[in-house]
Structure formats: C-alpha cells, structure tokens
Amino acid sequence: MSKLIALMKKEGLLFLRQKHLFLSLLLFSTLVILLIYFGMEGMGQRPEGVVPSVIWLAVVFGGTLQLNRTYDFERDEDVLDGMRLIEGISTPFYLSKLIVNLVMLLIITAFSSFIAALLFDYPLFARLSNIVWPLVLGVVGMGAVGTTFSTMVMANHKRDILLPTIFYPLIAPLSVAVIKAMQVDSMDHVTWLKILIAFDVIYVTASLLVFDRMME
C-alpha cells in the first residue's frame, strides 16, 4: 500500500509537469464531437438518442490517445527496469497506472458529455441517471484493458497503430453494452449493466493476474 502511495505521488508530480498535454486531449475530444456533428449534416434534426453514442466515441478516441501516453515518462532511462528491481512492485505499479488512466478517462468523459450536450442541445442533467453508470463502467473496462495492452506495446515504434488494432476488438462488445445500456430503460438497462460489470470483472482480474508475469 505504501508503494502505491509513493507511486501515486510520483504520478501526481508528473501530471503537474505536463498538464498542457492533457488539455490537448480535452481539445481533441471536442474536435471529435464536432466532426461527428458535421458528419451528420443532411440528417435534419439530429435525434437525441444519438448523443450517448457520440459521447462514448469521443471517450474511446480521446481515451486511446491517453492510453498511449501511459508510459511516456518511463521510456527514458529505463525506469521500468529500476522498478523491476523492487520486490512486490507489479500490483501497486499496475494499480497506479490504472488509477491515473481511469481518472483521466473520467475527466474526458465528463468534459465530452458537457460539450456534446451543448452542441447537440441534449438535456444532460435530465438523462444523467441513465447514462452515468454505463459510462463509468465502460471507462473502467476500457481503462483496465487499455492499461494492460499499453504495457505490451510500450516499447514498440508503431504503438500508435498497434494499440488500437489489438485493443479495439476487445472493447467493441463492451461499447455495444455501454451504448445499449444508455439507450434503454428499466429492466433491460439493468441487464446491460450486469453485462458491463461482467466485462469489467474479467478485464480487471485478468489484468492484475498477468501484470505480475509481464513485469518480469
């Protein structure tokens, strides 16, 4: 636990040094939403039901950029080897990276929700209870898988292409669940939430188990 605290402190310091990069990510998500809005030109009245999907797409694309950045600071000076020298480092290290990514993703989600609600004239607060849990659960699943896979491609030159290629197929069904959960009410909504929870449990548990092996 104390290791996790030390690592989180480090992540906090690093974030403060690079906050401008994070602002660019928020801008990127805004641009994605704008592009989708323009892409729907000719549709006439843009249906309200499409907004949750727009939010999720902005989160996926902006989130991919964030996930690719996970190890940016560890790449120089072989810092990861320095970490590997320490007993019992894998789980706290994975958790520290996961927490950072989840926080970033959630901020991107909240921000994208506001922007999408603004541009599409969507009653965000009225619909909040319907969309908040699917988005949060979706982010958890995406964060868990994304952090793990980001570790795999970290050293590779082509990681910008590689990460989405291996990681999008795994979050495609997750995305179906997120969007369906946001669109339907009552009983079906709960069913989809259960499916999301199942995805999350599998992804987080599997990630924790394999991360130890990956650090070796």
Binding site: V145, M152, L162, I166, L170, P173, V176, K180, I195
Partner: protein, 213 residues
Amino acid sequence: MKKITKVWALVVLMLVAVDAYLIAFYAPVEAAQGVAQKIFYWHVPSAMVMMLFYIVGGVAGVIYLLKRSERADLVAVSFIEVGFVFCSIVLVTGPLWAKPIWGAWWTWEPRLTSTLFVWLIFFGYFILRNSLEDKDDARLYSSVLALFGCLDIPIIMLAVKLWRGVHPQVLNARSNLPDEMWLTLAFSAVTVFSLALLLIYIRYKKGAPTLYG
C-alpha cells in the same frame, strides 16, 4: 513430408470426397432454403472447431504464462492459427448462406456478429505476435491477449444475442432434422475435424525445430 502426414492427408482427402458426395446427393434439399442451405454442413462444424481450438489455444497460452514452456506456446499458436482459419471459413460461409436466403450478405445475425468480434480479436493476436521483435515478449503478450480473447467469448456471445435477438430459426429445432441430414452433418463434422487436426499437426511440426531447452 513425413509418412504419417501423407497417410493422414490421404485419409482426409478421401473423407472430403465422401463428404462432398453425401452433401451433394445424399442429404435432401431443404424445402424453404434450397441448395444454399447445404453450406451448413461445413459452416457448423467449422464453428465448432473454431470455438474448441480457441479455447485449447487459450489454455495452452495460460500454461505458457505459468510454466514458460515454449512447447506450450507452440501448441497455443498452432491451435489459434488453425482456429483462425476455421473462424474465417465461418465468416465466409455465413454470408454465402445468408445472401440467397435473406437477400443481404451481412445481416448482423447474433452468432455471426460474435464470430466477427472474435475474429478481430485474434487477428490482433497475429499482428501483435509479428510486431514484437523480442520473441519472448511476443509469446508472452500474445498469450495474454489470447487469454483475454477466450475469457471474452462467452460474454460476447451473450451480449450480442441480447443485442440482436435470437438466432433465426434456420434449423427448425434440432430434433426436426431428418436422419439423412443428421448423418451428413455428423460425417461432415468428422471430416472437418480430421482436416483441422491435420493442419494442427503440420503447423506444430513446422514450428518444432525452433524449440530449444
């Protein structure tokens, strides 16, 4: 090619020949769907092979993760590669079956959609394996990916079923199949499995010389 491979290949060839005969002439033409329905004799066993082989591959991958046995990894990649071939066969025969019957190549039918997701996941498996220069890393990470993929399979199937509604009543419930169809299906299954196992054997033998330690 070694002797056993030649003999086996010959057996498979004979099975395919008999199977083709059975499918073409022995199995009756289904009333509603016509000749197109006969694709099902290879479509269904291919799906079974795909499912089974992915699971075996995933398990072998876990053994590699636990024991660092390169033999286990070779088993894993052999099963996943052949499984992928049959997965592709399912995705090709599916639309071929669908087009004459429903008029569209792709209808987002639940099982085919799930298969598509699974195909994409394991396509990533090969991309990952080939992109990493360090071969130990390649084996390690692709085993992790295979694990995620296999764990996902049941949930994907459930989610997609819920999303699209149930598999259309193409089979009219298993018990209603006439005997000739059952027999043909069973024989086709044997044929497909024999072919699949042959491919595994060839793939494993191809990779075996690189094993060391």
